[in-house]
């Protein structure tokens, strides 16, 4: 089931993906402008800001109008400028062994390199605070050392044990979130968020406005409701109206700005375009015969990979986690307790995506909902978080009748990615399973 792919010859030229939705270009343009605006606020205006992990409560910062630089976004920005190898080499020169998992440490590496001439934005100024949830053993080391280096303060958040394990969590996350995410875990997360709010008020002089926060949480429900509605429609529609290469930016870019007027409006626009395409029978491929599921972070350095087998085999990637996850991960009936509702979201994001029984329980249900014929699952050899839960998920999918191809490749390493070889591997797998000629 596992196929080694990291001894590939030099990568063939990657393909661009076809974009069909008007709103995709709008989302990308918005994000680009946002990057410039963020730079202005953080670097030029020297506003207080925070560096945060993706799975932390961004909503608190949004409600206080404190800009945030998300570690994962910053890493992608550094990578896009082809600087990751340079900075990871600097990390080794500074005495850090090269075996450390690199998923969350590129920002630290950039700060260790301390090269204002190469660093994006000339490097980051000192943030007011740095926030990470302790999901792996290493992250407290990475953020702790990064905070020391930048002269900032590290605010770690616990990832408490979750003993009440409901594999059908996604079916109850909207209304029964107190039970599903465990009351004591929610209470603990609320206590930490209150400490964080106090720290932010203290350091920035900005006040946390309960009313604004409540409104933001309601708007997030509206926004993610549109995405959820579109995801449900995509699951039922034949052919699939939108490729995963377009599902992703139209979900994730608004999610970085969740609850803002733009994000809500964009989610609605996206939903409308999806429904319109379904109503008029437009598919991402004119030849859909096989519906594929992609598990893992996206191969964004080669988005054309996802569409490469549409013509020849009618194999269409219709599912990746980003869009369908938005509903169960984000939508919460507030029940008069927006802080608790947010806590239930933050206390579960990582676990439901990376640990059994939540990860496999959800993915099997999604495969069934979307009529999936086969699954391609990325198993990055050097990434602890992305690996976690994958083998049990593959087994669960196969038990449910969905054949799985596990690709042993490091998602962030474009150097070892070979478009033709990867496409060939998926084609061989589909033929082997009797799904394609």
């Amino acid at each position: 089931m596992t196929t080694a792919a990291n001894t590939a010859p030099p990568a063939s030229v990657n393909q661009r993906s076809r974009k069909m939705l008007a709103c995709t270009a709008e989302a990308t343009a918005y994000q680009k402008a946002f990057g410039q605006e963020l730079r202005r606020r953080v670097v030029e205006d020297r506003e207080p800001y925070a560096i945060v992990q993706a799975d932390t409560p961004h909503e608190l910062f949004h409600a206080m109008d404190i800009p945030i630089v998300t570690n994962q976004w910053w890493s992608a920005y550094i990578s896009a400028k082809q600087l990751s190898t340079r900075y990871f080499d600097k990390l080794v020169e500074a005495g850090y062994p090269a075996n450390s998992c690199k998923y969350c440490s590129l920002g630290l590496a950039c700060s260790v390199a301390n090269e204002s001439e190469t660093a994006p934005w000339g490097g980051l100024p000192t943030p007011t605070v740095m926030v990470a949830r302790l999901t792996c053993d290493c992250i407290q080391q990475v953020f702790g050392q990064w905070a020391n280096l930048l002269g900032s303060e590290f605010f770690p958040m616990e990832a408490p044990a979750w003993t009440d394990k409901d594999p059908q969590w996604f079916a109850h996350s909207r209304d029964e979130w107190r039970r599903v995410y465990q009351p004591d875990r929610i209470a603990h997360m609320v206590a930490e968020m209150q400490d964080l709010i106090a720290l932010l008020e203290n350091r920035t002089g900005r006040k946390f406005d309960e009313g604004k926060f409540h409104h933001l949480m309601e708007q997030i429900n509206v926004q993610e409701g549109y995405i959820w509605e579109a995801a449900q429609a995509i699951g039922k529609a034949r052919p699939c109206p939108v490729s995963i290469a377009e599902q992703m930016p139209n979900t994730m870019i608004p999610q970085w700005h969740r609850g803002s007027d733009w994000a809500v409006a964009h989610a609605k626009k996206f939903r409308d375009e999806v429904l319109e395409r379904i109503a008029t029978g437009q598919g991402t491929s004119g030849n859909e015969k096989l519906r594929l599921m992609w598990i893992g972070a996206g191969v964004w350095h080669d988005p054309g990979f996802y569409q490469a087998l549409e013509e020849s085999l009618g194999a269409v990637f219709v599912w990746s986690m980003y869009m369908p996850f938005a509903g169960p991960a984000y939508i919460r009936e507030l029940q008069g307790s927006p802080m608790e509702a947010l806590a239930s979201r933050v206390a579960s994001m990582n676990e439901t995506l990376h640990l059994p029984p939540w990860m496999n329980g959800w993915m099997v249900a999604e495969a069934q909902r979307c009529g999936i014929d086969a699954c391609v699952l990325l198993l990055p050899p050097d990434n602890r978080l992305s690996q976690s839960g994958t083998k049990l998920t593959a087994l669960a999918l196969e038990d449910a009748g969905v054949p799985v191809l596990m690709i042993d490749a490091d998602m962030v390493d474009a150097k070892i990615w070979d478009h033709d070889r990867m496409v060939g591997m998926v084609a061989d797998f589909l033929r082997e399973k009797g799904l394609a000629q």
């Binding site: 500074a94 005495g95 850090y96 062994p97 090269a98 075996n99 450390s100 998992c101 302790l134 792996c136 053993d137 290493c138 407290q140 080391q141 990475v142 702790g144 050392q145 770690p156 958040m157 616990e158 408490p160 044990a161 003993t163 394990k165 594999p167 004591d184 603990h188 206590a191 930490e192 400490d195 640990l355 059994p356 029984p357 496999n360 198993l379 050899p381 990434n383 602890r384 690996q387 976690s388 994958t390 083998k391 049990l392 087994l395 669960a396």
Partner: protein
């Protein structure tokens, strides 16, 4: 009985329940085909032996196995084993997790105290029994043979090894070896627990929350290694970390700076094999042969 499968666990509580089953036996030299079907490569090496032994029924005599949130492999194993049992792929004892928090903050201390109370409730241990176990534990700590060895000491610091094979290399070179194996780390009781507080669960939770050893400790690595050198009376240090250790490996630069300041002869071995099937034993022997005794 309840066996331990991780660091920073509440020994006094298990003792009070009469259920302390010691560290789980791993059987490190066996092939692990079943475990490899289920576990990804980033699990610490001992995880594969543990799951394979579990699948072979080696732990069927136990009531439960207690995992710890103070270690990534330990906490992930808890979820994996629960799932394998739910799906009928494994039988054996009940996996339990002890929700120890390590962040130096009141809410994390409270979380740990709550975990002690929860487990005490499950095991039917009342305050009086827990207090008595704390007193007995403190007495046992005080009775530990103390004093420093007569010869020179080499500190083995970094990843806790599976057994004393590296210690034996150090001893063969004429040094006493200081440094815990993984099993010793799991069984280490830590500093004394406060007695007579009227709330023994809070006293035990506070001690567990503050303990400095382990992958999720917030202790300053430079201060910790200096303290370890001093406590051991070490005149040489082997800093040994395995390939899979991706957490404390971040502490290398700080540790090396601290050791350089102390001016001690130091051998740094990174990305090594946990079972020392690489050149580590020979490198340690050669290093110590060149250190004045």
């Amino acid at each position: 009985m309840i066996a331990l499968a991780g660091p920073n666990l509440p020994h006094e509580l298990l003792a009070a329940a009469g259920k302390h089953g010691g560290a789980i036996a791993l059987g490190l030299d066996q092939p692990t085909p079943r475990a490899q079907q289920w576990l990804e490569s980033k699990f610490a090496p001992h995880a594969f032996a543990l799951v394979e032994s579990w699948a072979a029924g080696a732990y069927d005599h136990l009531d439960a196995v207690l995992f710890s949130r103070a270690d990534d492999t330990s906490q992930r194993l808890y979820y994996y084993l629960c799932e394998l049992q739910r799906r009928g792929l494994l039988a054996g004892p009940r996996p339990l997790i002890f929700d120890v928090g390590k962040i130096p903050r009141t809410s994390s201390r409270d979380l740990t105290v709550a975990a002690v109370r929860r487990l005490a409730g499950e095991l039917g241990v009342g305050d009086a029994a827990l207090e008595a176990a704390i007193v007995a534990g403190n007495r046992a700590r005080a009775g530990q043979p103390g004093g420093s060895p007569s010869g020179p000491v080499c500190l083995l610091h970094g990843t806790p090894p599976p057994d004393r094979r590296l210690h034996q290399v150090i001893e063969a070179a004429g040094f006493a070896a200081s440094g815990l194996t993984m099993e010793e780390l799991w069984l280490s009781p830590g500093p004394a627990v406060a007695e007579g507080t009227g709330d023994p669960a809070a006293a035990l939770g506070t001690q567990l929350h503050a303990r400095q050893q382990g992958a999720r400790s917030f202790a300053d690595p430079a201060a910790f290694i200096r303290q370890s050198v001093e406590t051991a009376g070490a005149s040489a240090v082997v800093l040994w970390r395995i390939e899979e250790d991706e957490a404390q490996t971040w502490q290398f630069p700080a540790e090396q700076r601290a050791l350089a300041e102390l001016g001690l002869p130091t051998l740094v071995l990174t990305r090594t094999d946990w079972q020392a099937r690489d050149g580590a034993p020979a490198a340690i022997a050669e290093f110590l042969a060149g250190v004045a005794r």
